[in-house]
Symmetry: C2
Subunit: 277 residues, 2 copies
């Protein structure tokens, strides 16, 4: 963890999730963070492949950046035992990568059902997390369950509310398993503030972007903070009231954002972060 | 109500929601229902404008069809008192139209927030429904709160879960206000079966379609029953276990479905209904 204290200002808590600059390589994003005074990044596994794991870890370390999380593990539900085992092995590798990168957290996107049986798929998520616990404990990497927006229930995650993520997390030690609150995924939920209060010491991450109206595309249409309808500050205050003062990741999937020159993008992200989060 | 008994077969409960044949006029849809032995239709207000209210009511009555619902009232949250009043007047007209058409039910799409304040918008929904009760009682038309999928939280409805719809409905007499369960809107919800049990004698409608994977478009990409991932039969059995044996509306917004010749569409809808619902 990056050792951010509650007394620090907001800006120092900005963590740049590298998917926000998807067209750019790892070196470019690390350089841009350094140039713009961003202290922390969130790393995606497929981006680590560019330079390799050890070189990426060295690059980030040498730049003096902290890592807030590695994206992503999960995708537990599967139709066969062989597939379940293969997903487990991949999640073990993800935990090992997180440890090497100095990330305290592996973010889970839990995966869709292989068929129509949501109950069984949700049970497989619990079983999948349980199987990872010894590895997480040994590597000192926490597991963060990120509920996704219900629009992704069919193809990305059977875990779709914070209540559900809390319920699963509470099956396991708080020292190992918690939840990740992404405003884009939870803002619509009439129970979101209850969920944040309940999560309390299990909140392991907080992600910001915005929900545009009309929504151009659920996957690729996230907005920059301030361009949409999410009560960002209220949500940030709520996670703080629940005790979370860790990094706040800016994570935006949006082709228009991706088309921006990286320098302009970083400037805009910082401005919007301070103004709206 | 169409007087369907629990002992009747499933097919007799099929109600054709006319939006499923959006390109076709009222006369065409009424004729197609008669030809295909469909006993009940659900009517949209903008379609009533084609022939006018009285003529539409006469057409449906003369064809011997029942009306399961009128779509739609609602859209309560608004920024000004004048706008709130204008929405109320429109909803009163909708209840009057429902009564004239012989519809026992007005379906509510509750509307988005006029700003970022979801709490206030949700309160305006409760206030808006309260204001309609005397009219609903006088006209003997029930009000059905339809929670929409959270993907529509920004632009169509701040009511996004069955739990929320139940909570609002329970503020009012069960003789006047209930909920409408549309599988497309609620299938993803880990609490949906709890919500159906809790709704019990307040379930006023049950709508079927399917959630395609990948989802081509949240608004216009609904599937025909059987083409997606929703556990349709399980949900139908659940609403029956809660006491609902009324009409089951087939309501599909999908340009490919709309492109079908009406005769083929009716045949397909009936086949899929019996096979999958």
């Amino acid at each position: 963890m990056t050792g951010i204290a509650a007394a620090d200002g907001l800006e120092v808590r900005l963590s740049f999730n590298q998917i926000t600059a998807d067209p750019y390589g790892m070196r470019d994003v690390v350089d841009a963070c350094v140039q713009h005074g961003v202290k922390t990044i969130s790393v995606w596994r497929h981006k680590v492949d560019e330079l390799g794991l050890e070189a990426t870890a060295g690059l980030i370390r040498d730049a003096g950046l902290g890592v807030s999380s590695l994206c992503r593990g999960g995708f537990f539900p599967a139709a066969t035992e062989a597939e379940v085992a293969s997903r487990h092995e991949d999640n073990v590798r993800a935990l090992e990568e997180a440890a090497t990168l100095g990330s305290p957290l592996l973010v889970l996107v839990c995966g869709p059902a292989p068929d129509k049986d949501l109950d069984r798929a949700r049970q497989q998520v619990v079983e999948g997390i349980a199987a990872l616990l010894p590895v997480a404990e040994r590597l000192k990497v926490k597991i963060g369950i990120e509920p996704l927006h219900p629009v992704f229930a069919g193809d990305r995650s059977v875990i779709v509310t914070l209540a559900q993520a809390n319920e699963i997390a509470e099956c396991f030690p708080a020292s190992l398993v918690g939840v990740v609150v992404d405003v884009y995924h939870v803002w619509w939920d009439p129970c979101v503030y209850d969920g944040i209060r309940r999560a309390a010491d299990r909140i392991l991450g907080f992600h910001v972007s915005d929900w545009l109206v009309p929504s151009p595309d659920p996957l690729m249409g996230r907005g920059l903070m301030g361009d949409g309808v999410i009560e960002l500050r209220r949500l940030r205050k709520a996670v703080e009231a629940a005790g979370y003062f860790g990094p706040i990741e800016v994570e935006i999937f949006n082709r228009d954002v991706w088309a921006m020159p990286l320098d302009d993008l970083m400037t805009k992200v910082k401005e919007r972060f301070v103004a709206h989060v």
